[in-house]
């Protein structure tokens, strides 16, 4: 029997360890690992925060957000990058959406939880979901274009501040 460091049975009574994930990609194949790690981190009793920036912010878009933004460029972006868990595409072998659809069917057959289910699970487990304020401004997204139950939009400063204290920080 080897002695492990610390005393794990006390760990849950102390301040929980922090985990920070930066979700910078709006690809289906990146959103999946982000949310799998976030929910598992929560199952480990960690305080998990996911910071959604740039294309990653699309994961938090409401499926019915429609065309968003004021500027024509922002509106065009929202047409070509619909976002929302249901609208995410594969980074490779996507074939105009056919690949993503096949992957979702395959995941369904193998009882792999969908991105949408994992997002709901993350919220149930108390994972903090931070939309990036700058990305919201850049892409012309209002809080109403994003799903409910998110934390206040934040910036890089907040992310760094949290990562300085975090035991696990990943950029995905």
């Amino acid at each position: 029997m080897t002695t492990s460091t610390g005393s794990p049975e006390k760990a849950s009574e102390q301040v929980p360890d922090k985990m920070v994930l930066i979700a910078a990609s709006g690809d289906l194949d990146k959103a999946w690992p982000v949310l799998i790690l976030a929910t598992t981190g929560a199952a480990y009793g960690m305080e998990v925060t996911v910071f959604f920036t740039f294309w990653g912010l699309g994961i938090l878009k409401r499926p019915d957000a429609g065309i968003t933004g004021e500027d024509w460029r922002q509106r065009m972006l929202s047409v070509f990058r619909r976002g929302s868990p249901q609208g995410l595409q594969l980074s490779t072998l996507n074939f105009g959406g056919l690949g993503a659809r096949m992957m979702r069917d395959l995941a369904d057959d193998h009882k792999v939880a969908s991105v949408q289910e994992l997002l709901e699970m993350a919220q149930q487990l108390g994972v903090k979901l931070w939309p990036c304020q700058m990305t919201m401004d850049l892409m012309g997204l209002a809080p109403g274009d994003l799903i409910d139950g998110l934390d206040e939009p934040a910036g890089a400063g907040s992310a760094i501040s949290l990562m300085k204290q975090a035991k696990i920080s990943l950029f995905i």
Partner: protein
């Protein structure tokens, strides 16, 4: 006999760990959770989670493509 049984058969990573953690949260020290799973990943994930959380894996068996774990809350 376990205090709670979690049936995660058919479910894939990360659900067996998450469902076990959720079941465990409602128990007090000394009580047990029985996990039934078919995800082969649980063979490494569940012992790792149990150890890291400071709980005890008091029983483990497998048969017919199913894995059974008995975890005691500490």
């Amino acid at each position: 006999m376990a205090d709670v049984t979690v049936d995660a058969r058919g479910l894939q990573c990360p659900m067996p760990v998450i469902k076990t953690a959720q079941a465990m949260a409602g128990l007090s020290a000394g009580q047990t959770v029985e996990l039934l799973a078919t995800d082969r990943g649980t063979l490494s994930d569940i012992p790792a989670w149990t150890k890291d959380m400071g709980h005890a894996l008091v029983g483990q068996s497998e048969g017919d493509g199913e894995f059974r774990f008995l975890i005691e809350k500490r």
